[in-house]
């Protein structure tokens, strides 16, 4: 009576409108970030337009900044930074969450109590406050350090969710069977438990990805972003700092924010779409 698992997944995945829309938006921006730099002729910080600020034109697709920098050049490179932060920062957050969640959920007992306590503590601390104070004392910051710190502070909710899932899977009898076959705990976790949670882990990663992007934008905007690169958050900071608002230079601050909103929004929509695909109960709605 039940259709084959994989086909069923693909069928619903391809049919799910939320998933398709989200994926299309992400792909669009990803391609722009990957190949956009091939289209630009100007370095992002070079003062290329002697006229200073100018609205979009055929020469400067997204116009130029107050200083005559090419907004499109900044935009595509910023997009790259955004994806980088999402992938590395979000990936790191997911990874730590997985390690702690699996350990706590599988081992149980005192190990679980301690890890759970740690998770709860880090969960309460406002992430951004910690990032702020770390970033403030770092004189030179690269995108990678930003990723690192974001990943190091973003894991708690992921760990908590994965712990709960592991906990319930651990009680399933196939885990007992694997133990009776003499399998080692780490092997059980990665070959028996983890594959069953793939959908869940993917969804966790998606949310971590989006969260990392928003966190990075916030940091950049307060002036604690990378000191040696451009990012969408930095673009917004410069725009506000140099009076783009008062001067009505909308082309300077609309693209970066719009891109972040579109990417993060697409991720959220994808997440709900995936949930519907994985969870048959929600399909009817």
């Amino acid at each position: 009576m039940k259709p084959k698992k994989k086909n069923e997944f693909l069928y619903f995945a391809l049919r799910n409108r939320k998933l398709r829309i989200g994926l299309a938006i992400i792909l669009f921006f990803l391609l722009l970030a990957l190949f956009g730099p091939l289209l630009i002729h100007n370095a992002p910080f070079d003062y290329v337009n002697p006229m200073g600020a100018e609205p979009p034109s055929s020469q400067y697709w997204f116009g130029t900044t107050f200083f005559g920098q090419d907004v499109f050049a900044q935009f595509v490179l910023g997009l790259r930074a955004t994806f980088l932060v999402g992938a590395i920062g979000g990936g790191l957050g997911t990874l730590i969450g997985i390690l702690i969640g699996f350990t706590a959920g599988y081992r149980g007992g005192i190990v679980d109590e301690l890890l759970n306590m740690l998770t709860n503590i880090v969960l309460v601390i406002p992430t951004l406050a910690v990032l702020l104070i770390i970033a403030a004392y770092l004189q030179v910051r690269s995108i990678l350090t930003e990723c690192l710190f974001i990943g190091l502070t973003a894991w708690p909710w992921a760990a908590r969710a994965i712990r709960a899932q592991t906990f319930s899977l651990r009680a399933r009898e196939f885990v007992d069977l694997a133990r009776m076959s003499g399998m080692k705990p780490t092997r059980i976790i990665f070959t028996e438990i983890a594959p069953n949670m793939m959908s869940y882990l993917v969804m966790t990663f998606i949310l971590q990805f989006g969260g990392a992007i928003l966190n990075a934008a916030t940091l950049d905007f307060i002036g604690l972003g990378p000191t040696n690169a451009i990012s969408l958050g930095l673009m917004m900071q410069y725009a506000v700092l140099w009076g783009a608002l008062l001067l009505g230079m909308w082309w300077w601050f609309i693209p970066p924010g719009l891109a972040i909103t579109a990417i993060v929004g697409a991720l959220y929509v994808m997440n709900v779409g995936l949930d519907e695909v994985f969870n048959p109960k929600l399909r009817e709605m």
Partner: protein, 332 residues
Amino acid sequence: MRRYLGRKLLIYLLTFFLAVTIDWMIPRFMPGDPIMNVMSRIGAVVNPSAAQAMYEYYRHVFGLDLPIWQQYFNFWNSLLHGDLGISIYVFPTPVKTVLMRAVPYDIFLLIPSILLSWWAGNHFGAFAARSKWLDNTVSPIGYILTATPYMWLGILLAWLFGIVLGLFPIAGAYSFELRPALSLTFISSVLKHWFLPFASLFLVGFGGWAIGMRNMIIYELEADYSHYLEALGAPRKLIRQYAFQNSILPQITGLALQLGVIVAGALVTEVVFSYPGIGYLLLAAIQNQDYFLIQGCFLFIIIGVLIANFGIDIIYLIVDPRTRRGMAGETA
């Protein structure tokens, strides 16, 4: 019930302890010499004798000649006496005084926007979950809003309503030519300045709560108890009411978890609107490399979030009969 609160309090105390430790550790173990940074910065601003005084002050406060455990102990000691150091940005006002001046603005901005967005978002989400048609037309608004970075929404609102339409001022807490007073002009000026930052915080939060509620309520409507009521022919309204009430509980827990994000949003929103709360102060502190002020802001944010968390815990306890009756250990 007492156990539940006791456990929570323990976690908050440990969190506070950890936060203070981070606050103490970071300046000491980060690469670079904060004192040198500070000094070079002050050298440009203050006269040489003041610089000398500052230098002595720093040496004394950082106590770099003392053993490390004693430095740590001293740090706690001065903290517990309410001594957070002296600000450089508004030299020589104590950091505590500077922060206390900013706090009312934060409260004024945060509390209404958090509560209203939570209330309105939940109802909107429940409304969206009423039918597939509504869900498809109305929910996307929620996704877009919750995905919007706070500062960008702030910038957009400021540009649209402040610059293009000219309806609201876009900087400060009140008109700079006014003095604080209990006059109608002053109050209306305060409200006008408050509105746009409030609106940006409200809208982003609103989207998040709406989506959260929508997802939650759909699960609840598929729960066994909903099906049972359907089989007994209970009216749709009653079933939805139950589902809504049961979805509200996780949303309260969600509020506690979101506090950090909301506070971060408030910081950047204040920066956009030059609204004189902690966020604005923080930007100034960062730009002026005022480390005491940064550390102070950090502690204030942490303390604020912890207090709010505890408040939410108490509310949860009152609202959820299960924790109140001590049946479920920890639902959160």
